[in-house]
Amino acid sequence: MFKRGQRAVFAALAAAAMALTGCGGGSGADSDPNTLRLWHFEAPNSAMGVAWNEAIKQFEASHPGVKVQVEEKGFEQIQKTAAMVLNSREAPDILEYNKGNATTGLLAKQGVLTDMSEEVAKRGWDKLLTPGLQTTARYDERGVMGSGKWYGVPNYAEYEMVYYNKDMFAEHGIAVPTTLDEFTSAMDKFVSAGITPLAVGGAEYPAHQILYQLALSKADRAWVDRYQRYTGQVDFHDPAWTYAATTFADWVAKGYLSQTSASVKAEDMGASFIAGKYPIMVSGSWWYGRFSDEIKNFQWDTFLWPGNALSAGSSGNHWVIPQNSTKKQLAYDFIAITLEKGIQSKLAETGGVPVVADLGPISNPKAAQLIDNFTALSQGDGLAFYPDWPAPGFYDVLVSGTQKLINGSAGPNEVLDEFAGPYQENLANVGR
């Protein structure tokens, strides 16, 4: 009696649950042969968002009957769930994905991404993109970037630069520096005028990117390859790293950056620059669009880190095609459109950094400057990637080490020792 009744109740419950969620099923990949399912995580008003919306329009115009179904995702969601999603039938046909060994490299190794090499060669994308940009698109069988097959195609780039407040520079009679010496003497002038020159966020990536820029001023391409692609021995007490750490500590001592900046977040660093509290901020091109929108009270511009042939920077995140995609040809066609000059110009006009050179005249003079700087860097093979790339979890090591340099709780040598430990440990993990 009891048992039969219970079973009946369970059956009723199951039926109720089915009824409740009857319409809640996901949209399977095999739903419609004429739909290209595309995922990305760019805001609709960002440079990429604007350019890609235009690309979708052009794609639908040149492929009558095919509809692009865009789903805007959170960065975190794609980051956390990509391996599972791409392995299932719910995988999209094409998506924007994070570049790097721990992301695209890992998925490539697991075999859930399409090897695009053949199509890349056929469509000439390998000639369109400079070697620095290709580095993050290609992964070998261990999932290490820099060589091997193509698993991603980048659509935009990013690089480290110096944002400066033109009004404050003019007020103190300071010219745009072209060498590191001029840069430091400019900062000296601000300090003697009672102004802290550098807006720095020590709690996140900005501070150690400055450290990396300093190291790069004494480095060459082989040094970058050893550090990023494990092509040789890395010594954290070599001249480049030693110079970087001692100079950085020296800058703190001279008051170029405040000691309180050790606990400042990147967001607050940007906000303080927007509010005009600091004349200089060193960070990536991802701020560019936001500064264009939000800085209204003063004139600003950018220059490359003075005197460096190498600078932190790389391709942006890229398009990947899941192995389970049923519309690979359409996906390639879409990528081709996003690499066309029209779309790339659109991206450039809205403050993004295009990957295709020689776009012709850009109407927005500041954007033209941004692109010229990038072209100079990229053509000179100057993209040195980011310091936290070589090892998983290395980001936190760099942040805490640089924080110690800022608040003076450890000297340059100790900090470099702290960097060396986790880095060398990781080498063992990647089999070097």
Binding site: M1, G24, G25, G74, F75, E90, Y205, W286, E294
Partner: protein, 284 residues
């Protein structure tokens, strides 16, 4: 919490109750500050935020951030999804808990202590540990990326806690009532529906409310198991604004405000049930 000591305290220590009042007011203000900041920034223009910083009061009512966010993620659909999932889980999990607890607490199944220990351990399992096994199971069953899949998961998770709690509550259920019912000729099924459930209704109501709110706020498993935008819940939709390096403070505030409102509304509606349930527990 009983009234007698409180009255005595008021008589004896007049000033100390003012001190308590004052500290409660301070605490309330401290608790409310984040909400005020969120509300302020939600109705500011990005330019206002850029010039005035996060703490300045807004100069006017700028609702574009809220409207833009609503349209960008189709918030109405997300609300409906969240309500469907949370409500189904709340009801189903309580039903399952009652059935389990009836067997364990009143039915006195053999080895019930160990069964409860298993439920307790299941409760302490971190959700991260469940992700991969469930992912493989659900893709095989076709439940991946369906709301039904998430409802089943949370029904089990919440029912594990509900079973544990209700079993101990029903373990102290007055035996006289059960025996009286049985003498009147009620079978086990009737005892459950006519005696046990009506008597423990306040506890069950509180469980429904808690399960609803807990499920509503769940982020990680829905993030992993609801990958299509049209099946997503409110907390997952809020994550869309989190970029790789940049955030949009005013729109994030707007979305946070939209995310809080349903929970507040739900609390106001069921506030009486909640407080009644708490006092019932206290008197017992």
């Amino acid at each position: 919490m009983s009234p007698a000591p409180a009255r005595r305290a008021r008589r004896r220590l007049g000033w100390s109750s003012y001190a308590v009042l004052l500290s409660l007011v301070v605490l309330a203000v401290v608790m409310l500050i984040p909400f005020v900041v969120v509300a302020f920034n939600a109705v500011k223009t990005p330019e206002e935020y850029a010039t005035g910083g996060p703490l300045s009061p807004p100069q006017g009512l700028y609702l574009d951030g809220i409207i833009d966010f609503w349209q960008r993620v189709d918030f109405g659909e997300k609300l409906l999804n969240s309500v469907v999932i949370s409500a189904s889980v709340a009801v189903l999990a309580v039903v399952v808990s009652v059935l389990n607890a009836y067997a364990l607490g009143i039915g006195r199944v053999r080895g019930r202590l160990w069964i409860l220990v298993v439920f307790l351990i299941a409760n302490t399992l971190p959700q991260e540990a469940l992700v991969y096994p469930l992912y493989y199971l659900w893709t095989q069953l076709g439940l991946y990326d369906t709301q039904l899949g998430v409802i089943v998961i949370f029904t089990v998770i919440q029912a594990a806690f509900g079973t544990y709690l209700l079993s101990s509550v029903l373990g102290t259920f007055p035996r006289e009532l059960l025996e009286a019912a049985r003498i009147d000729g009620a079978n086990k099924w009737q005892v459950l529906l006519r005696v046990v459930v009506p008597v423990s209704r306040p506890t069950l109501a509180v469980l429904v409310v808690f399960f609803f709110i807990w499920t509503w706020n769940e982020f990680f498993l829905p993030l992993v198991f609801l990958i299509s935008n049209e099946t997503q819940t409110v907390p997952v939709a809020l994550g869309v604004l989190q970029g790789q390096r940049l955030m949009d403070p005013t729109m994030s505030s707007a979305s946070a405000l939209l995310g809080i409102i349903p929970a507040i509304a739900f609390f106001l509606i069921f506030q009486r049930t909640l407080t009644r349930g708490i006092t019932v527990g206290a008197v017992k």
